[in-house]
């Protein structure tokens, strides 16, 4: 049901990765992803793989939570694997039927593609598991603040504020949806049975009140913010200051070292 929706899947802990500055976490994630895509074959993937495992262990987040995330994108992984399986033309032919041939290079390619997606998901999961959605938004805002130079400072702040508000209201709206669904069920609305078209129609009595109350909430929130003299980021200071620490430096050193490893392997292999 609705309450199964997890968004901002933060896992409470105080591991070194949790304590890192959100900005460095975002930047290092980008760095790691870039080098993940710079690998040339399945062998040079070993280095990012080791790095990912190390990060997961340090993060202290239970492995089964990562597996859960991979499960959700399993269809994409399978699809990519199958497509790539038939793409190799070099190497020995393993199976050939009708128009399709599977070669050793195809298998290698499929394994490479699949592991790359899995590593990508794992790395991003570490960020969302160890950083609260609000911290991520703050981090993004701070990282994009260089756009001020181009006169886009307010735009960046607005974007970040919108993200923060959206995240804040997801649980509220989920609760509201459940309430409205119960109320309409009490009036005999059938939300679970029937043909697809009937079920979509049955959602109207839920969606319209939800939309109206979202708009109402938006107005109320806007007024409450104005009452507290919010004027869109200009001259606004933060209560929670972000600070780089030694931890971030170490993390950067490790990630750069592994990236160097990827380059080295790419040259050697």
């Amino acid at each position: 049901m609705l309450k199964d929706i997890t968004f901002g899947q933060f896992f409470e802990s105080s591991s070194p990765i949790h304590r890192m500055d959100p900005r460095s976490k975002i930047l290092l994630l980008i760095l790691n992803i870039i080098f993940l895509f710079l690998t040339k074959n399945v062998f040079s993937l070993i280095i990012p793989a080791v790095l990912t495992i190390v990060i997961i262990i340090i993060s202290g987040v239970p492995v089964k939570m990562f597996i859960k995330n991979i499960k959700t994108i399993l269809p994409i992984i399978i699809f990519t694997t199958l497509i790539n399986l038939f793409y190799g033309s070099a190497g020995t032919v393993l199976i050939a039927f009708w128009h399709f041939t599977i070669t050793t290079s195809g298998v290698m390619r499929a394994v490479y593609m699949a592991s790359r997606i899995i590593l990508l998901i794992l790395q991003s999961s570490v960020l969302t598991y160890t950083t609260t959605p609000n911290d991520i938004t703050d981090g993004i805002e701070s990282l994009l603040s260089f756009l001020k130079v181009f006169g886009l400072g307010t735009a960046v702040h607005m974007l970040a504020m919108m993200m923060t508000i959206a995240l804040r209201f997801i649980p509220t709206l989920v609760e509201e949806t459940e309430k409205i669904m119960s109320a309409q069920k009490a009036r005999g609305a059938d939300l679970e049975n029937g043909k697809l078209f009937d079920r979509i129609r049955a959602l109207i009595p839920v969606l319209i009140p939800l939309l109206i109350s979202s708009v109402r909430r938006a107005y109320e929130l806007a007024e409450a913010m104005e009452c507290r003299c919010y004027n869109g980021g200009v001259g606004r200071v933060r209560m929670k200051q972000m600070k780089y620490s030694l931890l971030d430096l170490w993390a950067a050193v490790v990630c750069v070292a592994f990236s160097g490893g990827v380059i080295a392997l790419n040259i050697l292999l």
């Binding site: 309430k179 409205i180 119960s182 109320a183 309409q184 069920k185 009490a186 009036r187 005999g188 609305a189 059938d190 109207i204 009595p205 319209i208 009140p209 109206i212 109350s213």
Partner: protein, 288 residues
């Protein structure tokens, strides 16, 4: 009179991440006679709303039975929809559930789900509007153009239009002005007279409970703390205060007066009765 509602050993708990799983409703049993008005009072989070959502099958009990009109409602889970027409439930702030383009269409939503259509449907909607005092010219207005109190009345009428034998209302007067509150309570009484319905009201307003209810259910931390007549509940003011509730304001006034003069009665719960009582004292000339 026969029992219309029988609740036997009802238990329910919300599943959550909380390590301490506490029952939202724990081992609750009670019966309601046909035609009674029952008030449910209790502190926030005492399980009132959870309890009433069981009575029309929106929540399924973890254990225990709910018997409506002599039939266990979960005997045939496929027919649970029929129970919802028999037991009408009005949620808190029902005006936020309006969605149709006209007042008529919104009130007709429930009856339509029952399979009523055409002339019968029109008649049903118009009948209920007569009872609850929604003017005919309002029927083709958008419900969103109405005032807060009017919206609330339309929303309650939407449940009443299904003509349920049992009408349950969760805080029907919360957040309304005194005039709006009076209107809502009047329409509930009228509906009950017209359809011989049983009414269950959840409320924090002790004064209205004293006026309306025959018996009161007092909920405390998921348990049924008391189930007794209004008199027997409100004479236990200390016990009520112990669980975060109180007696009607007028009773508090009398209790304060009693401190000045021990001859004052404190077992009066409605303003009208108190006025009569105090006037009789004044007429007697004792404190005049």
């Amino acid at each position: 009179m026969s029992n219309i509602i029988e609740v036997k050993n009802l238990c329910y708990s919300y599943d959550g991440d909380a390590q301490i799983v506490k029952d939202a409703v724990h081992n609750v049993s009670f019966t309601v006679k046909s035609g009674e008005i029952i008030g449910i009072i209790g502190h926030t989070g005492s399980g009132k709303s959870t309890l009433i959502q069981h009575l029309n099958g929106l929540l399924k009990p973890a254990s225990g039975e709910i018997i409506i009109d002599g039939k266990n409602i979960w005997d045939e889970p496929k027919k649970i929809k029929d129970i919802r027409f028999k037991v009408g439930l009005v949620f808190q702030y029902p005006e936020y559930q309006l969605f149709e383009e006209t007042v008529f269409a919104d009130i007709a939503f429930g009856p339509k789900n029952m399979g009523i259509s055409g002339v019968d449907l029109t008649k049903r909607v118009e009948d209920i509007c007569d009872i609850v005092g929604i003017k005919k010219e309002y029927l083709y207005v958008s419900p969103f153009d109405l005032s807060g109190g009017e919206k609330r009345r339309v929303a309650i009428a939407g449940v009443m239009a299904m003509q349920p034998k049992v009408l349950i209302l969760d805080e029907p007067i919360a957040g309304l002005d005194p005039e709006g509150r009076k209107e809502i309570l009047k329409m509930i009484s009228k509906y009950r007279e017209q359809f011989d319905a049983t009414v269950i009201i959840v409320s924090h307003n002790m004064e209205d409970m004293a006026v309306l209810a025959d018996r009161l259910i007092v909920m405390n931390e998921g348990n049924l703390h008391m189930y007794d007549t209004v008199y027997n509940v409100f004479t236990k003011s200390e016990e009520l205060e112990g669980i975060g509730l109180s007696v009607p304001l007028v009773t508090k006034v009398l209790t304060s007066l009693k401190k000045k003069n021990s001859g004052i009665r404190t077992d009066i719960f409605t303003t009208d009765d108190a006025v009569e009582y105090l006037c009789s004292i004044a007429a007697g000339g004792r404190y005049a």
